[in-house]
């Protein structure tokens, strides 16, 4: 039993480092550091996606026949860890990590041939149409309806909390195609061109000051039946498959460690008057660091199981719970560390392209927005309360 990587894996690690050193521009790095959200704006995120794609690393989790790099679980781990350490932008996760695996798993050959290369290259930018105003945690109660009319579905209804709908040219959505007794059975998984007539998008500003999410309205929107993934009425199954990916991509500790390091660097800097000298802050930092060590060990236990072909079990809900809570703890500590600068409000976005120099040190700018933005971590992708229900049901057999 050991925590060290093999010589071959070390060589791969060096290859990743070299790639990052050659392709991560200072602009990308700065923009990522100054983005309060986990979602990079497309101009930053897609530039990185293009660089990854050129290297053949556009979709680390995909099988090789779909354009994935055919990495072992350990290689994926190393890649994610190095990216986190270097502060690379986030790519369009809704494409690469969400709809991609569903199309690979359940799509037709035509769908695979059309959509997958466009996700890899960054030509398509995806958003996720799941939640509705009346359907949050109770997702299966969704009411957006797709009615068959010849070779089309006609879609009416509305989706909400749609991250980056204002940037996306495509949406994957769960829509109701049938009124079945068990509401999960009447749902289908549809791919929608965001330029279709009848779609309007309304921005929703969140408390951190970011425009990240939207409400999207569908008014007699026609979508070809060929845009349905898999069988009609089986959308719930595909949607849940995808949520497994959303909840536990399995490698979050490296990002959290990087986020904590950012807070620790601030605490050790003149900008915060050496907040670290406050023993309460130092101890709080240790508590969070140990929580991240714990999470990392859990991830490595899962990785070890995967590498020998064992099923790690229903851990994604457990991981999602802890990852979101630790993220929030890191951002909360950040607010404590910056002291009086926590009162400063910067209404302009993006923070990496302000017209005027801010009134506080630049590296402190994203701290409060990150904390405010981060309140959503325990809500999106199934709230923590829903995750606890899932743990009780799936893990404890209750």
């Amino acid at each position: 039993m050991d925590l060290t990587f093999s010589a071959e894996e070390r060589i791969f690690e060096q290859e990743v480092r070299d790639f990052i050193a050659q392709n991560l521009t200072p602009e990308m790095k700065r923009a990522t550091a100054l983005t309060p959200s986990v979602f990079s704006d497309p101009d930053i995120g897609m530039a990185w996606q293009r660089a990854l794609h050129e290297k053949g690393w556009g979709a680390p989790g995909w099988p090789v026949e779909a354009g994935g790099p055919d990495w072992t679980p350990a290689q994926r781990w190393i890649f994610e860890a190095e990216c986190a350490r270097a502060g690379t932008p986030n790519v369009n996760v809704m494409g690469v990590k969400m709809v991609g695996p569903v199309i690979i798993g359940f799509g037709t050959p035509e769908q695979k041939n059309f959509y997958l290369p466009r996700i890899l290259s960054g030509e398509d930018y995806w958003c996720q149409g799941y939640s509705e105003p009346g359907s949050g945690s109770d997702l299966a109660s969704l009411k957006t309806r797709a009615v068959r009319d010849g070779d089309d579905y006609v879609i009416n209804g509305t989706k909400i909390w749609t991250t980056h709908a204002h940037h996306a040219n495509r949406m994957f959505a769960l829509v109701r195609t049938n009124d079945t007794e068990r509401k999960q059975d009447g749902i289908s998984f549809i791919l929608i061109d965001m330029k279709s007539p009848g779609i309007t998008t309304r921005p929703i500003l969140t408390i951190g000051g970011d425009h990240e999410v939207n409400q999207v309205f569908f008014d007699d929107v026609r979508v070809p039946v060929t845009n349905r993934v898999g069988e009609e009425g089986k959308g719930w199954t595909y949607g849940k498959y995808l949520l497994e990916f959303e909840r536990g991509s399995g490698i979050a500790s490296a990002k959290l460690r990087d986020a904590l390091k950012t807070v620790a660097d601030l605490a050790e800097s003149d900008a915060t008057g050496h907040a670290i000298d406050d023993p309460d802050i130092a101890v709080r930092m240790s508590e969070i660091e140990v929580d991240i060590d714990t999470l990392e060990m859990t991830e490595l236990r899962v990785l070890s199981a995967l590498q020998t072909g064992q099923n790690p079990g229903a851990v994604s809900s457990l991981l999602k719970l802890r990852v979101s809570e630790i993220r929030q703890a890191v951002t909360r500590l950040g607010v404590e560390v910056i002291g009086n600068d926590g009162l400063y409000v910067e209404p302009m976005r993006p923070l990496y392209r302000l017209n005027e120099a801010p009134g506080i040190p630049e590296e402190i700018l994203p701290v409060v927005p990150e904390y405010l933005n981060g309140r959503a971590y325990t809500i999106f992708g199934g709230s923590s309360e829903i995750q606890r229900d899932i743990v009780a049901k799936m893990v404890l057999g209750l």
């Binding site: 039993m1 670290i276 023993p279 101890v283 240790s286 060590d293 070890s304 590498q307 743990v391 404890l396």
Partner: protein, 383 residues
């Protein structure tokens, strides 16, 4: 990178699990509770026959040369069984100190005897004024022409009543705490001037308070050559923390399993307790704490032979985190058992007390988070 158990480790786990399940049932505990020794010499002999006493001892001294992960496997099962045999004091700490600090002759003389079960050890280090500061020792060792004279008081010495030799830490009189000052001495049981007052320990086993008044020792009672023993003490205590963490994981898991089962069976308002969301969420949190404790305990074990800062941070981090998680799981296990949870009629209470003792041993969560921070260069050591 591989955290899967090897075949040997799996076999060890199966064997110790089986032994614990067959031997340490509630009846056994009730019978041994009033025993003045606090454990069974017959079972200790079985431990030696099964090779568990030899486990972490190097092969050249009659051991099996296994590491902290194997110790963790044994300790986790011991936790489930609430084992009170002096494994931690003799094998993990006692033999660990001899291996770290002892002269070649001392290792040759003692380690094979630990491995074969014929020598039991205890470590007398803690003092009332020190709390959990390992460097704070007021007990003195005064050199004389024919050896040493030890004077001082030690508290909460695990299993000293059953030890053949007690390893006592002491400083040269008038020393200023400089390196080379703190040494370890072998004090045979029954030495003149050694007063021992032993008491039943919370959660099982026994512990002692020692008074050493003019205890005369031979020159060879000094362990090794007089170099400062604090770094070695810290290394061995860090390994003990990893072992205790594994023991706590075993206790947490069985408390959780029992509680989960109870909430499925216990009916109130015409349905099982576990049908209530407030209970289900509590259980989900308990499951998470158990799994987290398992991860961080394993980390402490895997890091137990790393360089001192990384090792110390891993050990203290684990002790602190498991302490917090154990408190949650233990308190909620009692809570969800309702009034039955606070009686002596269920095992839950025994496990609860053992976890409380775990939290106290070598310092609680607050102490170890501070040490973690200090070792990380973030705060002065005793802020």
């Amino acid at each position: 990178m591989d955290l899967n158990l090897s075949d040997e480790q799996r076999l060890l786990r199966e064997s110790v699990d089986r032994f614990i399940a067959e031997t340490y049932h509630a009846d056994h505990r009730r019978k041994s509770a009033g025993d003045p020794l606090g454990f069974s010499p017959a079972i200790w002999k079985q431990f030696s026959e099964l090779g568990w006493l030899a486990l972490p001892i190097a092969e050249e001294y009659g051991g099996l040369g296994a590491g902290p992960v194997e110790t963790g496997i044994v300790m986790e099962a011991f936790g489930r069984g609430l084992v009170s045999e002096p494994y931690l004091s003799t094998v993990v700490i006692g033999a660990g100190l001899i291996a770290e600090c002892g002269s070649e002759a001392q290792k040759q003389a003692m380690l094979p005897k630990v491995a074969d079960g014929s020598l039991r050890l205890s470590f007398a280090h803690s003092e009332r004024a020190a709390r959990f500061d390992l460097s704070h020792v007021e007990t003195t060792a005064t050199p004389t022409p024919d050896g040493w004279i030890i004077d001082g008081c030690k508290t909460a010495v695990l299993d000293a009543h059953a030890a053949d030799q007690i390893i006592v830490s002491a400083r040269l009189p008038g020393g200023d705490g400089a390196a080379g000052d703190l040494c370890l001495y072998l004090v045979p049981a029954g030495s003149v001037g050694l007063t021992m007052r032993d008491y039943p320990r919370l959660g099982g086993g026994r512990a002692c308070n020692l008074e050493l008044t003019g205890v005369r020792l031979e020159p060879d009672a000094l362990i090794d050559n007089g170099s400062d023993a604090l770094p070695q003490i810290e290394a061995v205590v860090d390994r003990a923390l990893a072992a205790l963490g594994a023991e706590a994981v075993g206790i947490m898991q069985i408390m959780f399993d029992m509680t989960l089962e109870y909430t499925k069976v216990r009916q109130q308002f015409g349905k099982p307790l576990s049908a209530n969301q407030v209970i289900r969420h509590r259980l989900a949190d308990m499951a998470m704490h158990c799994d987290e404790a398992r991860s961080i305990a394993l980390r402490a074990a895997v890091m137990a032979d790393a360089e001192p800062v990384a090792r110390g941070r891993a050990a203290s981090g684990a002790k602190a985190k498991i302490g917090k998680s154990a408190r949650f799981v233990a308190e909620q296990s009692v809570q969800l058992h309702g009034a039955m949870g606070v009686t002596e009629e269920l095992d839950i209470g025994s496990y609860f007390k053992r976890l409380l003792a775990f939290d106290t041993l070598f310092g609680g969560s607050a102490h170890h988070y501070r040490r973690h921070a200090a070792l990380g260069g973030r705060t002065p050591p005793h802020a």
